[in-house]
Amino acid sequence: MGERDEVSSQQIELLRMEQVDKVFNGNITALKGMSLQVRQGDFLSLLGPSGCGKSTALRLISDLVHPTAGRIVWSGEHSADDLGVVFQEATLMPWATVAQNVWLPFRLRGKVYGEVAKEIDDALNLVGLDGFQDSYPRELSGGMKMRVSIARAMVTRPRLILMDEPFAALDEITRFKLNNDLLKLKDAFECTVVFVTHSVFESVFLSNRIVIMAARPGRVVTELSVDAPYPRNEDFRTSTEYAGYTRQAADALRLAMGEAA
């Protein structure tokens, strides 16, 4: 019964891209006929070689660029409050403290600090940065900065979090730790995640769906579902099940790239 509920909640559509083309400067086709359905509660990874339009897809979803053809449809009312974003760099304001950085999305909605202090503290607590409220970004390590960035994206509890290779610049130990914590955070904040990565391992560990893309022109080639149950932890990382999915994803990626070449 419980499982049934979970399955059905995963069927509710959050947004979909319909046959989206994106052409830059009239001649660079970044995306061609991309269709994608994001469902509530998904952890969806976009996996593909450099230049296949992964970042462009995220920029389209976040409305920073507009489709040349096709459309993006949100189910229900859609506003700027629906989104949280994490970039490859932590992208913090260096002149502001950790707490002030996390306050930003609230502040831009006209909320004074006192009104949302509890949410900010809770978010920092959940990402494991309790007590760093008054530190400046320069005093933090790369991993800690990324945690602040994640707290900022999640603190307003948006419906969808977009992450563009957030851990690519981190060392492997930090990256594993953040992978584990990200899954917990997704649970705690009950959000949907679209996650861009170059790493087969990372995408398998995190996602329930992996969308594999190819370049020239950027497009979706195939989709893979990773049916291993959450919560996932270090045991999953060393399981044969994980190895199987990794192989499947790697093969699919190789096929996609071969096809492109």
């Binding site: 920029r59 976040s62 409305d63 920073l64 506003s79 700027a80 989104l83 974003v85 970039f87 760099e89 992208t91 304001m93 260096p94 002149w95 502001a96 930003l104 999305p105 502040r107 831009l108 909605r109 400046y136 970004p137 320069r138």
Partner: protein
């Protein structure tokens, strides 16, 4: 175990050397220039005495100091006028420079229309413009102020414009995604990003507004009651009162140094928490 000890010893030695160097540099920063000053003053004094140079050609340092004290009433009054013009010009340069920079970044059209003229004003020597200004502007003070402002505002304008445009592009995207208004983006992103650049421009502008105030007064020539240091130097020159020229010159230099030090301190206080330029790194 012994290896570990050895390693610690090595770093300790390094640390000690570093500390010593730091102390030396901290002391040397003050002691060395003062030493140079004393040597130069001593040489100056000896040259005057040995060559029996008359004081109306080159006074002894001691005479300059005596003149400074004796003529203090006149010189101090003139100093106040010069400082007043300098600070007012700097204030107007800040308001005008930052204001224009903000307008420029809000509208490309305005920037394209007016930026070339800002550059032309900047590259035209102030001594060439000043006589015209004094023909059309009746008030002497207003004319001086205008000259000083013309010299000082450009570094503020160009640095602030650069700073406003140099906000991290990912942060810009983030602000757009969150639906920030223009005003919010300006207030929370662009102005803080521009602060270090602005402060750099301000330090240059501080020195320039003093230069502008002095140069303009040379051009303005004899004036009414409110004469600044430049006029006192001219006047003393006509009367061959060389010691007073030196005393006035000393006051101008001192003013410049104080302005620069004050603005550097302000810059340090505003940036010390977060900006690389204000962070102390030993290695």
């Amino acid at each position: 175990m012994s290896v570990v000890d050895h390693g610690q010893m090595a770093t300790d030695k390094e640390e000690l050397a570093r500390l010593r160097r730091q102390r030396l540099e901290a002391g040397g920063k003050w002691i060395l220039p003062v030493l140079v000053l004393l040597i130069v003053l001593g040489l100056w004094d000896r040259v005057v005495v040995w060559n029996e140079i008359p004081h109306y050609i080159l006074p002894r340092p001691k005479l300059v100091l005596e003149t400074l004290i004796e003529d203090w009433a006149i010189l101090f009054e003139a100093l106040l006028v010069t400082v007043q013009i300098t600070l007012m010009a700097l204030a107007v340069a800040v308001i005008g420079g930052v204001g224009l920079a903000v307008i420029f970044t809000q509208s490309r059209l305005v920037e394209m229309s007016f930026y070339p003229y800002a550059v032309i004003l900047q590259v035209t020597p102030i001594v060439a413009i000043a006589p015209l200004i004094f023909i059309y502007v009746d008030s002497r003070i207003a004319g001086l102020l205008m000259c000083a402002w013309l010299v000082a505002f450009f570094p503020v304008l160009s640095n602030t414009t650069l700073g406003l445009n140099s906000a991290d592009h990912n942060l810009r995207d983030l602000f757009r995604i969150y639906g920030a208004t223009r005003w919010q983006t300006l207030r929370y992103l662009q102005l803080p990003s521009a602060l270090p650049y602005f402060l750099g421009g301000l330090r240059i502008a501080g020195g320039l507004s003093l230069i502008g105030a002095v140069v303009a007064e040379y051009v303005a020539g004899t004036g009414g009651l409110k004469s600044g240091l430049a006029f006192r130097i001219l006047e003393a020159g006509y009367r061959l009162n060389i010691p007073r020229m030196f005393a006035a010159l000393f006051l101008i230099a001192l003013t410049g140094v104080i302005i620069f030090a004050g603005l550097s301190f302000l810059s340090h206080m505003l940036l010390r928490k977060w900006h690389e330029s204000a962070l102390k790194r030993d290695i």
